[in-house]
Amino acid sequence: MLPFTMEKPESAEAAIAAAAGGARYIAGGTTLVDLMREEVERPERLVDINALPLGGIRVEGDDLVIGALARMSEVAADRNVQRLQPLIAESLIEGASPQLRNMASMGGNMLQRVRCPYFRMLDAGCNKRTPGSGCAAIDGLNAGHAILGTSEHCVATHPSDVAVALVALDATMRVRGPEGERSFPIEELFRLPGDTPHLEHTLLPGELIVELRVPGGPYSRRARYLKVRDRASYEFALVSAAAALSVEGGVIREARLAVGGVGTRPWRLRDCEAALVGKRLERPAFEAAAHLATQGARPLQHNHFKVELLPRTIVRALEMAGEVA
């Protein structure tokens, strides 16, 4: 690990000023410290934001508001979260390990770096880590990589589980920066790799995530998160799906669907959602909709199975959501 300085401001203003000058925020540190130890991340200045009043979880009308510093475990265990947005609680529990969930913040979770093994190896090409150095994964071992949203420069998947749920639920993010505050749909936070895979999100220099806001909908309680992987815990998704349904008289009125493990960002499936609306809550409708998910998929040498697994995961997640009483 390279030497660095760290300050711990008491106010958001002080933190933003420091970060605008080139420092990096640190909250739980579960991604950043790990990568600093391997010198994949080399920040010279850190701003510890844990003293800022950005925690807590509250309900405002139909909205659930989650502070950026709320820990994953805290959110997963929160009764309001479980009651109003069980999809968020379920996706959090499926993520990481208990130890990591106790440390990792919700804001940090949105910004976690990719799990591509080559990203973590200083002696391998990685355009995300070192722009222009090439992508070792495209012709390398890529069973865990993305089939959607890839470019010739990067094929890494976005690793977060809860981000998939938040994208499905149309959550928004409030940030504060040198120019003041702004809010935007969380989906707009995540960039496609294109030819600039080192740019992963749309935050401006110094911008600090303040909170996440999840609007309630008629589909919020009939919602499930399914994460498919080779071991039962502590593994990133091969494929995951967040499905939320509003059903009346056995007919789907509204649907929310996003998937993980397959896209270079949390992947919302609006075509599939549209295909479900007005259909009976039955497997043939799920299958027809899920079929649309792989349009445009570009599998690599070792991840063809994801093209098969993705629709199956969607079907099963929709079934699970439909079974919610």
Binding site: M1, L2, E39, R115, P117, Y118, R120, M121, L122, D123, A124, A136, D139, G140, L141, L226, V228, R229, D230, R231, A232, S233, Y234, E235, F236, L238, V239, F305, E308, L309, R312, T313, V315, R316
Partner: protein, 739 residues
């Protein structure tokens, strides 16, 4: 009345030390003034070092030395091979030349005042190479298999009858190939060595399963007398075979400590534990079976190939079980190696047998479906009366009793034979079974017993305890033999200066070291008897040896209650009474019998028909392992082995990038092993088995067989659940997705 401790479920004597953090592992023995070393590993898979930008790194904060092949002392590397070293080839000589043989090979060592400084400098060091593409994939058409040079240890080819002809002409045949991935041991404790020189004497606090060999190997590497080295390792945080050999990092720690003149601590990173500390070799196997319509085997062919390095021929007993497991007049086994540009593999729990039996027991399962015979019944119809390869009786063999007991505890009778015929809700349920077996090895071992004036006893042997409970089980052996309560025994291990023992592997520690401790205790009793009967003031004066009996810490005349205590005798002697004991297997008995443990493993899996997730729901094992010294420890051994077998079946796979040979998943998040949520109800049972031939204690060993057989039981259950036969381990979701 004798205090009986063998057979009791005693809790670990070192349990409190472990849970309170008082147990000290190699890296805990920090020395005053010690420096920290970090290895720089090669970033190419084959080639030559062309440049090392040393000057920049030598100027970095805290750096004391940068050691490379250019400035490292030339080491003697005298010939030395222990049983655990490959018989053919020569070990890696570290930092002695510019050759890079495999990705991750140490190419430099940074020594600094703190670990942080050493890590920073190691990361900053720029090494340039002239690189060539390595060959790391045994399936590559350029990979060639060779006949291993076993140096007369055991033939790579064995045959009786004409197996190929028998298979070809059989009414029912099966011919299939099976593949198993490379695995790394991944114990919790990383490899660690602290080296300290005092003049020409060297102390190594070093994680080792074979202290006396670490001592001998380092003596050979440095060309120094064995007695000038002491290796200390009282505790091991899991090893599974990776610490059997003495790997280059031990040499590097000693080399650095000598070069800088201070103690040096060297701990491998998790990533480095995928480079130079061995791995279970990837294997490719073909099994061909011929059988009559009623399931009698008429021919068995088993050809297996394992990977090895370019510089050493690592061999394991890949096809050996096939020679003796079932009755068949025509059996041919063949073992080959593929030389690759990787580090040398080594033994990993259940070595060879575990890999080989996956192929054989999968094939037997496949044959059972072809025949329409219950898989257990098929094994019963081929149960031999003797070891047909050696033409010798088994010293004991309880395989059928294991199947009977295991089937009952597992509920095998509830299984419906047809694949995909069992469900739990929407999940497909499968039940599978497989045989486990492992040789009942024995090696010469020594131990020392010291009776002290306070009535306690010290027992010493240079053994190790990597987790099975050696501290506890040996205490039980000594307590039982001396007729003392176990609290009075203090068993010490983990020092090379203690009496020599064999490697702590191969399931022979209890057989070998336990027998030596028993012998030393008996010798101590003989000394005490001589003192007590020669002393005119003793109540036992002139009592004949045959009249004496030992119990409750006292020596007495048979039938009498008083006698004399150890304490009194030692006090009278004026000094502790010390006795050495050694044990080895009677060569005549060894020649007369075939000695193996046997077991039957049962697994139940649930497979999600939509998304292919495979979860093990239960494993039941029944084992015939001779005498069980401690049922609690034995059960723990078995459940640990089953978890290792689950990893082999469903998760563990070290994946190499064929472009440069790098392991891409050298990380605990990416190299999957079962976690708590994966681990179901595990149940181990032991059949009553008395084997008077294996050794005086009647123990056959347990550590290895506990893993053997689990993977094929799971693979067979996956087939039963899905109807899809997966012949490649680990079985992943993608393999059953089309089921």
């Amino acid at each position: 009345m004798t205090v009986s401790t063998i057979g009791n479920p005693m809790t670990r004597v070192d349990g409190r030390a472990k849970v309170t953090g008082r147990a000290r592992y190699a890296a805990d023995f920090n020395q005053p003034g010690q420096l920290y070393a970090v290895i720089v590993s090669a970033t190419v898979g084959l080639g030559r070092i062309t440049g090392i930008q040393a000057a920049e790194v030598e100027r970095m904060p805290g750096v004391v030395a940068l050691i490379t092949h250019r400035n490292a002392e030339k080491l003697a590397y005298l010939p030395h091979k222990a049983g655990i070293d490959p018989a053919t080839g020569e070990r890696l000589h570290v930092l002695q030349d510019d050759t890079v043989r495999f990705y991750g090979q140490p190419v430099a060592l940074v020594v600094a005042d703190t670990l942080d400084h050493a890590e920073r400098a190691a990361t900053a060091l720029r090494v340039t190479y002239e690189a060539r593409p390595p060959l790391v994939d045994p399936m590559d058409p350029k990979a060639e298999s060779i006949v291993p040079d076993t140096r007369g240890r055991v033939s790579p080819d064995r045959a009786r009858g004409d197996a190929d002809k028998a298979v070809a002409g059989a009414p029912v045949t099966l011919d299939a190939t099976y593949e198993m991935a490379r695995e790394n041991h991944n114990p919790m404790e990383p490899h660690a060595t602290i080296a300290a020189w005092s003049g020409d004497r060297l102390t190594l606090w070093s994680k080792s399963q074979y202290l006396v060999n670490e001592q001998a190997e380092i003596a050979a590497v440095f060309g120094m007398p064995v007695e000038n080295i002491e290796v200390i390792c009282p505790f091991i945080g899991g090893a599974f075979g990776t610490s059997l050999r003495t790997w280059p990092h031990v040499t590097l720690a000693a080399l650095a400590a000598r070069q800088v003149g201070k103690p040096v601590k060297l701990v491998l990173t998790r990533k480095q534990m995928f480079f130079t500390t061995g791995h279970r070799p990837r294997t490719l196997q073909r099994v061909a079976l011929g059988a009559t319509n009623d399931g009698k085997l008429t021919g068995v062919v088993h050809e297996g190939t394992g990977e090895t390095s370019r510089y050493e021929q690592f061999m394991e007993a890949l096809t050996a079980v096939t020679d003796y497991l079932y009755s068949c007049p025509n059996v041919r086994t063949q073992y080959r190696l593929t030389e690759l540009d990787t580090g040398t593999p080594n033994h990993m729990r259940g070595p060879g047998e575990a890999s080989g039996i996956f192929a054989l027991e999968s094939a037997m399962d496949e044959l059972s479906y072809k025949l329409g015979i219950d898989p257990i019944e098929l094994r019963r119809r081929n149960e031999p009366e003797k070891d047909e390869a050696e033409n010798k009786p088994f010293s004991s063999r309880s395989l059928m009793q294991c199947y009977a007991l295991g089937a009952e505890r597992f509920g095998w009778a509830r299984r419906t034979p047809e694949p995909r015929s069992m469900r739990d809700g929407r999940l497909l349920i499968g039940m599978g079974a497989a045989t486990a077996t492992y040789p009942a090895f024995h090696a010469p071992a020594n131990a020392r017993v010291r009776l002290l004036a306070d009535g306690t006893v010290e027992v010493e042997a240079a053994a190790s305890d990597m987790g099975p409970g050696t501290y506890t089980s040996m205490t039980q052996v000594a307590a039982e033999t001396l007729g003392l309560p176990p609290e009075r025994i203090r068993f010490r291990l983990g020092r090379s200066s203690y009496p020599q023992t064999p490697s702590h592997g191969g399931s022979w520690t209890m057989a070998s070291v336990g027998s030596a401790i028993q012998a030393a205790c008996i010798e101590a009793q003989a000394q005490v008897s001589r003192l007590a009967t020669a002393d005119s003031a003793s109540p036992l004066y002139n009592v004949a040896a045959g009249e004496l009996e030992w119990s409750d810490g006292r020596l007495r005349r048979r039938g009498e209650t008083t006698g004399i205590s150890y304490r009194e005798i030692v006090a009278k002697a004026g000094a502790p009474i010390e006795a050495d004991g050694s044990a080895q297997r009677d060569p005549e008995v060894a020649e007369r019998y075939s000695m193996h443990s046997f077991g039957a493993v049962f697994a139940e899996v649930a497979v999600d028909p939509d998304v292919g997730t495979i979860r093990v729901r239960r494993i039941v094992g029944a084992y015939g392992i001779g005498r069980v010294v401690n049922p609690l420890l034995a059960r723990s051994q078995c459940t640990g082995g089953m978890i290792g077998g689950m990893g082999m079946a469903l998760m563990e796979r070290t994946v190499l990038d064929s472009r440069d040979g790098r392991p891409v998943n050298a990380h605990m998040a990416d190299y999957l092993m079962p976690v708590n949520l994966d681990i179901p109800e595990l149940d181990a049972h032991f059949v009553d088995e008395v084997d008077p031939h294996v050794n005086a204690l009647g123990v056959k060993g347990l550590g290895e067989i506990a893993l053997v057989g689990t993977a094929p039981a799971i693979a067979n259950a996956v087939f039963h659940a899905t109807g899809t036969r997966v012949r490649s381990l680990p079985i992943h979701i993608e393999d059953v997705l089309t089921a």
